[in-house]
């Protein structure tokens, strides 16, 4: 082990980096875990004794319903993103390299634009007297405006709009790596288009699908400003519950427990992603 005096630069760098991560990543996360098993306290936020009340509260009929509804909206968002993104990434990977890069650039541009502003732009389109309704009425296709804003559908549209690039980018990367020889081999061995799709393309792009699901499903449960702007009070996300518990109700144990449920979901998805990648690695090598 080199002594401190001989490598002051190395020591300084390591102390700074470790210090930052221990204080601002490890400590806060441990705090949340701790808070979730403590008791709510109006003065100091949390206090002893330790208990699992917060986790029990998650299964109250009222909150369970909010959670399931949030999970449903997040799942629908992920499904829609996958259905749009999968053929999109496939089509994109078939274009010339130069054009691919340009199109990727234009996919990222909206993603670099303030997400609140983009959600607001959707509100302009979906409102009762908004552009979609007034155009449809102008064309004479409908007589009365359709209620689109403040519905479950509006929240899902908003989430899809914000999260679609996160589904497309990992999918594009697996399609880009997909070797044409494998498809030709499958064809030569007598497989039709459908059989090739099911037995070759789907398994090989599975890691991309899982990465995309991971990157969409979790934010889709946390982006509380989308229901705030588009969804009204009945279409809440887990993120809204966590935010209300921490900022308004001041019930830290409950908010912390809800956030741990999110983290555990993330861990499970990451594990699935890893396993699917390993499987492909083995098959590719063997």
């Amino acid at each position: 082990m080199p002594s401190i005096t001989r490598q002051p630069f190395r020591t300084a760098v390591l102390v700074l980096v470790w210090g930052w991560l221990l204080f601002l990543v490890l400590a806060p996360n441990l705090l949340v875990v701790g808070a979730s098993v403590m008791t709510r306290d109006p003065g100091t936020f949390i206090s002893l004794p330790l208990n699992l009340d917060a986790y029990r509260q998650l299964f109250d009929a009222l909150y369970l319903e909010v959670f399931l509804h949030s999970l449903y909206m997040a799942a629908m968002t992920t499904l829609v993103c996958l259905l749009i993104g999968y053929p999109f990434a496939w089509a994109l990977s078939k274009l010339g390299k130069q054009r691919q890069l340009l199109l990727i650039f234009f996919l990222i541009v909206p993603f670099w634009t303030n997400s609140l502003v983009r959600t607001y732009a959707l509100k302009m389109l979906l409102a009762t007297n908004g552009l979609i309704n007034s155009s449809l009425m102008g064309l004479g296709w409908i007589d009365e405006p359709i209620q689109m804003l403040y519905t479950e559908g509006a929240v899902i549209i908003g989430l899809v709009y914000l999260l679609l690039p996160f589904m497309i980018l990992p999918l594009y990367s697996v399609f880009d790596d997909l070797r044409q020889e494998l498809l030709l081999a499958s064809h030569d061995l007598g497989a039709g288009r459908f059989a090739t799709f099911i037995h070759v393309i789907v398994p090989l792009t599975l890691p991309g699908v899982l990465a995309g699901v991971m990157l969409v499903l979790l934010p889709a449960m946390g982006l509380f400003f989308v229901p705030d702007i588009l969804g009204g009070s009945r279409n809440l996300l887990v993120g809204n519950v966590i935010k209300n518990q921490f900022l308004d109700a001041r019930n830290w144990p409950f908010g912390a427990a809800a956030s741990i449920v999110l983290t555990v979901t993330m861990a499970i998805l990451m594990l699935a992603h890893r396993l699917s990648k390993q499987r492909i690695g083995e098959e590719g090598a063997g």
Binding site: P8, F9, V13, L14, L16, V17, W18, L24, V25, L26, A27, N29, L31, V32, F45, I84, P87, F88, A91, L92, L103, L107, I108, V109, P110, W112, T113, N114, L116, V117, R118, Y120, A121, L122, K123, M124, L125, A127, G130, S134, Y161, M214, L218, P219, M221, G222, F224, F225, I229, G239, I242, K243, F246, L247, W252, G255, A256, S259, T263, M266
Partner: protein
């Protein structure tokens, strides 16, 4: 048919992505007060934006925060990447793991964990808490950008510098920093944009003493439609576009 069908599909998705943004930009020049009907060209919403003192102050606060967060995270991120690349030390995997957790965990989880820390340690919610939080979520992105640059780097150069008697610090300054410069610029621009765009984390860790733009927009768009938001959104769009083009230009230029 198989030739043009994928292209039509791609075009359609891009149309859906850009229609809301297009509408936002067009209506920012709308003279009418209602957000839905066209009342002729006008710059009145841009004017009312800049006549709003609280808004202008929030803009400056946001810019200053983004500048400082990007700078601090670039410095710490670059040092982290260098340490991960060059040094062998205990707990390297743990360090990597922590960075990965920051990048992957939902923003709201990061937000409440930092709020809990700040309140219990007694850091007042305001500029300092925002800076610490923003640097933390920008950090992994800078580390990844710099690591990618370092991975394709010829190891004989630092060795030669050491053999010629350069100290660790001198070698880093004269050999490694010039090599990773494009990655530093790209990482800085990424951090700047991430900081400017953040809503979720800022909602939790900001206080009334330091109001920033996304939170100001948030309070405006929650109730009804405000044409000023269109003007502000258009300005932010142009700004991000310039930043994104800059970072792409830097990265592609450095590859040649």
């Amino acid at each position: 048919m198989t030739r043009w069908l994928p292209r039509v599909y791609l075009g359609l998705v891009y149309l859906l992505l850009y229609v809301p943004i297009g509408v936002l930009v067009v209506f920012s020049f709308n003279d009418s007060r209602s957000g839905y009907t066209w009342g002729g060209l006008s710059l009145r919403w841009y004017q009312s934006l800049f006549n709003n003192n609280a808004m202008v102050e929030a803009m400056w606060n946001s810019l200053w925060l983004a500048l400082s967060a990007a700078t601090v995270s670039t410095i710490i991120g670059a040092l982290t990447a260098l340490a991960l690349h060059r040094y062998r030390f205990r707990g390297k995997k743990v360090l990597n793991g922590m960075l990965f957790v920051v990048m992957m965990s939902p923003e709201i989880v990061l937000a409440i964990s930092l709020l809990a820390l700040f309140l219990l340690v007694g850091i007042q919610l305001g500029y300092v808490s925002l800076l610490l939080a923003h640097v933390t979520f920008c950090l992994p992105f800078v580390v990844i950008t710099v690591m990618a640059r370092l991975s394709g780097f010829d190891e004989s150069l630092p060795e030669a510098a050491r053999d010629l008697g350069a100290s660790d610090f001198t070698m880093t300054r004269t050999v490694l920093i010039p090599v990773i410069m494009p990655a530093l610029l790209a990482g800085w621009l990424l951090g700047f944009t991430l900081s400017l765009d953040d809503v979720v984390v800022s909602t939790f860790v900001s206080g009334p003493s330091y109001e920033i733009l996304p939170l100001r927009i948030y309070s405006m768009v929650r109730v009804g439609l405000k044409p000023e938001v269109n003007a502000l959104g258009t300005l932010l769009l142009v700004f991000s576009l310039v930043m994104l083009m800059l970072s792409q230009w830097i990265l592609t230029r450095s590859k040649r």
